[in-house]
Symmetry: C2
Subunit: 205 residues, 2 copies
Amino acid sequence: MFPELPSKLLTAAVEELAKLPGVGRKTALRLVLHLLKQPREDVEKFGKTFIVLRNEIKYCTVCHTLSDTEQCAVCSHPRRDHSTVCVVETVRDVLSIENTQQYNGVYHVLGGIISPMDGVGPGDLTIAPLLQRAAAGNIKEIILALSTTMEGETTCFYLYKKLRDFPIAITTIARGVGFGDELEYTDELTLGRSIKNRQPFVGEE
Amino acid sequence: MFPELPSKLLTAAVEELAKLPGVGRKTALRLVLHLLKQPREDVEKFGKTFIVLRNEIKYCTVCHTLSDTEQCAVCSHPRRDHSTVCVVETVRDVLSIENTQQYNGVYHVLGGIISPMDGVGPGDLTIAPLLQRAAAGNIKEIILALSTTMEGETTCFYLYKKLRDFPIAITTIARGVGFGDELEYTDELTLGRSIKNRQPFVGEE
């Protein structure tokens, strides 16, 4: 693309940014030239933030989400409902659900889903710690909030089999036609299931 | 957007990336989570690259482009034509022209264009050093490669007035309908000028 950038320092910085997913060399160059216009101390802070993050971030010993401390802010929060556990694949799912401000329970981050094609088995996920949490006896409900893919369904079923003997309600998040979606463009499986799992209409005035 | 990220370190890193132009918080989060999956030494290198760049980059004393050394790779190259100087607005323009592999002369980076609206006058640009280069007597041609905006044209005219008394040919890059452009969608000014400045047809077989 740029056969001969006039500066090796510039090339190095462009290449580092272009390693990030979805960032091409043209975008990287634009961002690097932006950084060069910032005060030295700001760029120093920019660079150091990632090093500090990588070196100091921990995984919560209870729910395995990213955390600054041994127990994350959610797990150590006194007003969260610690008897309801939402099982998700990744940290991003935790952030997405937190973002809805509709959930007051705690989480369990599996670290992925069972996918024999990608060589991910139950042993690669945090399933054993989840079973320990279930065995500890303080949990009333476990919500399975995994992807609606084949792998997600397989993982849900695997977890269900492991968890069904505990006195815990196992639920999954509601599947159906999303708000703002048009029926015409909804896939048949989703539409079919949403008719089968129809719910009483709640009129709001 | 994310009212309560579970980690302050994560929040800090997302905010640093989201300061970059065109990077939103969702993208920033995706990039930070990607960085967290990389080995520590890679993230260390990533962060340090920008700090080193910002602290060590220089501006070429001859042409004012970004450079690792006092004189940039182009200005110190023995096989470049040092009697032809292409005047551009920014370092990005240098890279764009280098990228075409069609130019063997050297450059002069103005650092912007004259724009009274933005408070940029001739004194804010590297016009005085350009006149010094012209006065040194080794330059045969100066190519003005500025934007085709009102400000660009004004700057071209200003430079022309300052340079016309030197025994130097003053040229500008060709304006016209771009390759791959359809006439129907070309603006009237460009199309009008491209008819006025028509050139002999060179048939290639």
